[in-house]
Structures are given as C-alpha cells and as structure tokens.
C-alpha cells in the first residue's frame, strides 16, 4: 500500500528579511492562489535562521487568508527565535474574520454633507454675531481690546502689502488700457481709454483686486496663525487667562484690516490709473494733460468713494472669515492646512458676492 502523500508545504531557508519581501510575496502568493477550500499549504520554517517583522507580517497574512478561504495552513518546524516572531505577529492563533468595511451609501453621504453644511452656516452666523457684539463692545469698553496687536497687524497687512498691491494694480491698469486701446483705436476714440480705465479701476477692479491680494496674504495668514494657536492649545490658554479670543485676536485683526484696506485701495486706484496713463502715452500718443483731464472729467469723487466703502466691507469679510476658520480648526497640521485653504476660498466667494451686491445696489441708487 503506497504511503499517503505529504501535504504540500512552502519551504523557506536562510534569512527572511524585509529587503526581499517583494520576491517573497510574489512567490508565496502564487503558491497560495492554487490552494482551494479543504486543501492544505503549510509554511515550513525548519531551515529559517532569522526572520524579521515585515516578512513575518506577510506570512501571517498569507496564513490568515488561506484559513478564511477554508484551507488549512500552519507554521512548521520553527526554531525558538523564529517561534517568538511568529507569536509576536499572532501567527500561532486562529485568524479571525477581516473587519467589515461598509461603504457609505449615497444618501448617507448627502445627509452628512447637508448636516455639516447646516452646522457650518450656524457656526459662521454665530461667529459673525459674536464678532459684531464684540466690536460694539469696543465702543463701550475700549480698554478691553488688545490694542497692542493693532499696529503690528496694520503694518503686516497694510504696509508690507503695498509693493504687491502697486505691482498688480499697475499691471491691471496696463492690461485694461491695452485691451481698450485695441478697440477704441478702430473708431479714433483713443482718449476714451482714460474713461474706460478710470471708471473700471475706481469702481470695480481697484477695490476688488486689492481685496483679493489682501485675502491671499492676510486672510490666509490669519487663518493659519489662529488655527495653529488653536491646535497648540494657545487659544485655550488665552481663555483660561481671562482673554476672550474675540477681543484678543479677532477684533484687533478686523479693525486693522478695516483701517488699512481702504488705504491700500486708494493706492491701488492711483497706480491702476497710472497703468492706463502709461498705455495712453506709449501706444496711443496721448499727452499727460489730456489723459488726466479726461480722467478727471469722467471719474467723480463718488466713483472713488464707492470703491472705498466696498473695501471696508471687504475687510470685514476677509478678517471675519479668516478668524472664524482659524478658530474652527481641529486636527493638527492637516487641519490648519485645510482651514487655511477653506478660508481663502470662502473669502474669495464672499468678496465676489459682496461686490455683486454693491454693484446692484449702486446701480439701483443711481437710477
């Protein structure tokens, strides 16, 4: 009577190290793939001298997979040192089922997103309300505000932003001038470039572009700074020392922003007009006097003033959204990054929305 055939085994030799796990995994996976339910594939460790954690993790995973498919698999002939590693990676206990991961259904996802959106709205409105109350409180108790932060914040968000505001607005004026010149030259109406640039810069592009620049610089900085303070418990520390973050952090930043953004907008308007003038002089053969006179004739004080009014509201949007996002930060460095991105996107949306509302409002007032 022939002897029964021994069950198939995978025999390992020498040292199983992490450096060779790719080849090891390919080989054992191929062998395991041929094993069906009710069959057996043992792992012979008799000739193994050393095994490290990475290799053992794969072998234990392979054994568990075979068990789950209804096959049998055990470690055989392991020496004392190898046995210790097998035990460390639970290769000597019965493998349990894999944890079930249920995909989140579409309705669940929509529901959760909707609830999050409502929570966000509630949070934002609550924050804006608190901020406005705190700002009103400044009038009654001026000493309660952290005034020491006001000047440095004005310097950082205002003075330091002047070069980039000048550059961008000059280029915007230049581009507006060139685009206008191409069209207006066809009708011999070169001088109207001054009207086009003057009105579009003072009413719309000057305030908006300046606010966008400030949003990218200061809005992101506020959100990141306050967010980092939040995750490193500095906000909690401030609260336990009796300093509310609203009056200590939010109000000084908001006031600083409301003071510097109108000034930056006026600078932006001036250099934007200068950009248009440059086009007029270089490519349209206009004179400085002619261009300036046409600009003065077209642009009245209200055009400039309406832009300045908008910039105050823009400042409010930038600082409140940035501070709210910063204070809502959770979850360490990743959370700070997420909230900073969210702050900039929300601010840009807010700026465009406020600008659109103002445009409609001014149009309605004018008519």
């Amino acid at each position: 009577m022939p002897a029964p055939e021994p069950p198939p085994t995978l025999q390992f030799t020498g040292t199983l190290s992490f450096a060779g796990t790719d080849a090891l995994w390919a080989a054992v996976s191929a062998a395991a793939a041929k094993v069906g339910a009710g069959q057996r594939l043992d792992l012979d460790m008799t000739k193994v001298d050393e095994v490290d954690g990475g290799s053992m993790a794969l072998l234990v995973a392979l054994r568990a997979d075979l068990h789950r498919r209804g096959a049998q698999s055990e470690f055989l002939g392991a020496g004392e040192r190898v046995l210790q590693v097998i035990s460390l990676y639970s290769g000597d206990v019965k493998p349990g089922p894999l944890p079930e991961r249920r995909p989140i259904g579409l309705f669940d996802q929509v529901g959760r997103a909707t609830l999050t959106l409502f929570d966000d709205f509630r949070e934002v409105f609550g924050f804006v309300g608190d901020a406005l109350v705190a700002m009103a409180g400044v009038l009654r108790h001026p000493r309660s505000v952290n005034w020491k932060d006001l000047w440095p914040t004005m310097e950082k968000t205002g003075a330091d932003a002047v070069p980039i505001v000048v550059l961008i607005n000059f280029l915007i004026g230049l581009v507006m001038g060139f685009q206008g010149a191409v069209q207006l030259q066809q009708f011999g109406a070169n001088i109207y470039v001054a009207d086009l640039v003057g009105l579009s810069i003072t009413r719309e592009l000057g305030p908006l572009m300046t606010a966008i620049i400030v949003a990218g610089r200061s809005g992101a900085a506020f959100a990141a700074e306050i967010g980092t303070m939040k995750v490193s418990e500095e906000i909690d520390a401030l609260k336990t020392m009796g300093f509310g973050p609203m009056r200590f952090l939010v109000v000084p930043r908001t006031l600083a922003q409301m003071l510097v953004l109108p000034a930056l907008t006026l600078i932006g308007d001036a250099v934007g007009l200068l950009g248009g003038l440059t086009v007029g002089l270089v490519s349209l053969d206009l004179t400085v006097t002619g261009y300036v006179q046409e600009t003065i004739k077209t642009v009245d004080l209200w055009d400039i003033f309406s832009g300045v009014i908008k910039s105050v509201l823009f400042a409010l949007v930038i600082s409140l959204v940035a501070c709210q996002q910063g204070l809502a930060t959770t979850g360490g460095a990743e959370g700070v990054g997420r909230r900073t991105t969210s702050a900039v996107v929300s601010i840009l949306f807010g700026l465009i929305l406020v600008d659109a509302c103002f445009t409609v409002f001014f149009h309605w007032v004018a008519s």
Partner: protein, 249 residues
C-alpha cells in the same frame, strides 16, 4: 479639611457619546489631586470641564462654593498649565508671564518685571525671559507654563499631564517643583497624569476613571489604592500590568 472643589453627579461627553456619568467627588484644600485612568476614559475632558473650557452634560461643579461656569473675560481664580505648555508663540517667555499682570493688575512696569523675574527664578528659568517659546525644550516650556499659571498668585493650579514626555531627570525635577509649591505655598493642585512614578511622588489623593463603566472606580490616596484595592482594574493600573482577560467588571 474643607472642600475647595465639589463635583456632583457630573456627566461629560459629546452629543450621544458619554465619557463619564454621575461622577461625584471633592478636592480638598491643600491636596495634590490626581485624575488617572486609561486612555480615552475622559481625564482631559474632565479637566477641561473643571476649568470651564467644556460644559458638562449634567451635574454641577463648584469652586470655593461658587458654581463654575464657562470662562468669561476677566482674571480667572486659578492657573492652568496645558500639556504642551501652550505659551503664546509670538511673545517672549517674559511677555507671556507679564500678559496677565499688565491686563489684570495696576502694577507699574518695573513691578511687573520684578514679579516675572521672580516667577521665572522659581522654576529655574531666569535666563529664558527674552527667549521665544520655540527656543525652549519641552521641559522648559512646561516650567515656563507653570510660572505663567502662578503669576496672579492663584490658590488652585490645574496641570494637564505635567511630566508626560519629559526625561526622567526633568520629570523628577518637575515633581519636586509641584511638591514644593504645594507644601510651601499651600497651593491646591489638580492634575491629570498617568505617569505612575509622578503620581506616587506627588499625589495626596487620586480618582481613577474607567472607560468601560464610564464611572469613577477608585477614590483615595494612590498608595492605598495600589496596596489594598480589590478592583482588578485599579490594581492592574497601579501595578502597571495588563488586565487579566477573565476579569469582568
């Protein structure tokens, strides 16, 4: 001894998640009171409720007979040291300490400087006054934070894991500092910790929170709990060993 803090029927958690239910305990004046428990048992959340950073779901906390509420604007009646120190990163160590003095007292600048220097000397950081927190080691940040917590001379200090992450020598020095502040100045200290050596070195009383039963499962001096607690969870914690699998609470 009279109770400085009284916690009655306290439940804490978030939404439907309850971390601790119906907890009742007292902190006596002059105690070094340690809140211990396994990870996730609600130690830090309980501390945050005690200092007013979180609102309990139910129950009351009174400090010196006054019901504790959420923190408002104004000088607090206690000092807090957070686990990471939580010094304000944009200010020097000296400015961090001077902040409350300039805001909540009418002391002239030279008096503020004198107090700041004295507090820093007390914690062994007299040379760090002009340094930014980023220039300090973890242990130095904690020392500066405890100096800041004491700057308005509170009679009650809350410390969140004061010796966590410190090397053995720094941890020992920190324990010595806490003991010295407690004995010399009579400060009442409430701290969260799971560093057994520190607990045995400084604590006069401790409570142990349990995640499974969401309750306080031990209340007493730490050495007594270690030697005579019949509860296997308490015994396992204080003897630093794993819980026997067959044990059911």
């Amino acid at each position: 001894m009279s109770a400085l803090i009284t916690v009655t029927d306290l439940s804490i958690g978030w939404g439907a998640v309850r971390l601790l239910e119906h907890a009742t305990f007292e902190v006596n004046r002059g105690d070094v009171f340690v809140i211990v428990g396994t990870s996730g048992s609600g130690k830090s959340t309980l501390l945050r409720c005690l200092i007013g950073l979180e609102h309990p779901q139910a129950g009351t906390i009174t400090i010196e007979g006054v019901t504790a509420s959420r923190l408002g604007v104004g000088p607090p009646g206690f000092g807090v040291m957070f686990q990471s120190g939580a010094l304000l990163g944009s200010m020097t160590v000296g400015e961090n300490l001077a902040l409350q003095l300039t805001e909540w007292t009418k002391l002239p600048p030279e008096a503020v400087s004198a107090i700041v220097r004295a507090k820093l000397r007390l914690v062994g950081l007299e040379d760090a006054e002009d340094k930014l927190p980023a220039e300090l080691s973890g242990g130095m940040k904690k020392r500066a934070a405890i100096a800041r917590a004491m700057v308005l001379e509170p009679q009650l200090l809350f410390l969140d894991e004061p010796s966590a992450g410190l090397d053995p020598i720094s941890a020992f020095e920190f324990d010595e500092l806490i003991t010295s502040l407690n004995r010399t100045l009579g400060l009442t200290v409430v701290m969260v910790s799971h560093e057994l050596e520190s607990i045995f070195a400084v604590a006069s009383h401790c409570i142990m929170l349990d995640r499974e039963s969401r309750s306080i499962i031990a209340n007493g001096p730490p050495l007594t709990l270690r030697e005579s607690s019949a509860d296997p969870r308490v015994s396992a914690f204080f003897h630093r060993r794993s819980l026997p699998l067959e044990v059911t609470p």
